[in-house]
Amino acid sequence: MSFRLFTFAAPVRFHALTGVLLPWLWAATLLLSAAGLYIGFFVAPTDATQGDAYRIIFIHVPAAWMSMLLYLVMAFWAVIGWAFKARLASMVARAVAPTGAMFTVVALWTGALWGQPTWGTWWVWDARLTSELILLFLYLGYMALVAAIDDTRRADQAGALLAAVGAVNVPIIYFSVRWWNTLHQGATIKATAAPSMASTMLCAMLLMTLAFWAYAFAVVFMRSRAIVLERERSADWVQALVKTTGDAA
């Protein structure tokens, strides 16, 4: 498996492979999210206490999972790129960041939408939402740092170090925010609790998570392809590609 992975570590093969995969990934995204949303919004039963408002969790929870997971993915590839001087790994890490940040924003926004009918306010400082907010700051910090450094190699390396430091700190931050939240429990802030899961609800959650995964792959691949073309623009295969697409146009 690892041997096959390394053969696609060359930017040109990566570009070719992802080009083939992209239509399938988009198809998977559409199908899975259609199925997941249908089950979540129409098939799953109405909750006894929260009514129909709870259905937003079928977007909120998968988005939150993706936001946390993508941070680790980003940090992983960035460190691989730094440690092994693997250019493609660094490019992929940079491509992951905006998507991870987007999922964080979706999680925050849907969290607010969930909180509004339940608690009457658009924002509550519960442990989960506060942690998501801090995660958003970490993403934005990474994106700001790599954008501020002109030299590509220095930007990749500094970003990798920052992402690694962030990844190490994420458990510490989560723990401290949960601690903080339980301390201030008395101030009427309780975490918005998901209703106990019927099997249809779990099914919808799973489908939406898979849909978000497919979406993330698709978008990250698209962004990576653009970064590859830009960084490798002096390479022969890119020149040839530009020429053939120019001829075809």
């Binding site: 700051f137 501020a148 450094i149 920052l162 430091v165 931050i173 601690w179 903080w180 301390l183």
Partner: protein
């Protein structure tokens, strides 16, 4: 013999930074002035009601100390980078993490410690009772070194960048949130008549973690920035 040498360079870096700060002592004390001014804005902004001020005091003092400590971070490595001293430091047989630790220590002595010294005064302005006042000061005594250590990492990452100063603050502040939580939590425990031991232990653990982890990371960042 090597260990003696190491201690020499470490001490030399600290003493040199202290000496440089002393020669520009007005500049060195600006963060302390900011600390007092910024904290004083809160009663003006939220009203002088005594009970509320006493309740928000630990949070306000901690956050203002965070901002004040961050103010002088931009210049931690900038001067040395500009005149070539940083390169010589990196070429020294002395390991770079030792230099990074020395710079953080010097920053804390010049900026952090004066902030801690002024904290009791600020607490009095907010009407904080005596036992909580002692706890605020103690938590900042443990917390400001963490800020200097993490700040050194941020300064090294953003070395030489145009928007470096603000970017540095944005990068480091989220990482300081656990220290903020445990520091203010300790004061809240004292206020509620409970033991602050748990919070202080966690804060101490963060400090140890930073002392062990931040200097090597800062050394790596310095090499990245000077390549």
């Amino acid at each position: 013999m090597n260990n003696v040498f190491m201690a020499n360079v470490f001490v030399a870096v600290v003493l040199r930074d202290l000496r440089l700060a002393w020669r520009r002592r007005i500049d060195a004390l600006l963060p302390v002035a900011f600390f007092v001014v910024a904290a004083s804005l809160f009663p003006i902004g939220v009203g002088p009601e005594a009970q509320m001020l006493a309740r928000i005091a630990s949070g306000v003092v901690w956050v203002c100390a965070l901002f004040a400590a961050m103010l002088s971070l931009g210049s931690m490595y900038a001067g040395d980078h500009a005149d070539g001293t940083l390169e010589q430091m990196l070429l020294s047989p002395e390991p770079a993490w030792s230099v990074a630790l020395a710079k953080a220590l010097a920053h804390w002595l010049v900026t952090g410690l004066p902030l801690v010294a002024v904290t009791p005064l600020l607490c009095l302005l907010f009407g904080v009772p005596a036992d909580a006042l002692g706890m605020v000061t103690l938590t900042l005594l443990l917390g400001t070194p963490i800020l200097s250590l993490l700040g050194g990492l941020g300064a090294a990452l953003t070395l030489g960048l145009r928007s470096g100063a603000v970017l540095l603050i944005l990068l480091i502040l989220p990482l300081c949130i656990p220290a903020l939580i445990f520091g203010t939590g300790a004061v809240a425990a004292v206020d509620a008549g409970q033991s602050a031991g748990g919070h202080l232990s966690l804060l101490g653990a963060l400090l140890i973690f930073s002392v062990l982890g931040a200097p090597p990371a800062t050394a790596a960042a310095l090499r990245i920035a000077t390549e």
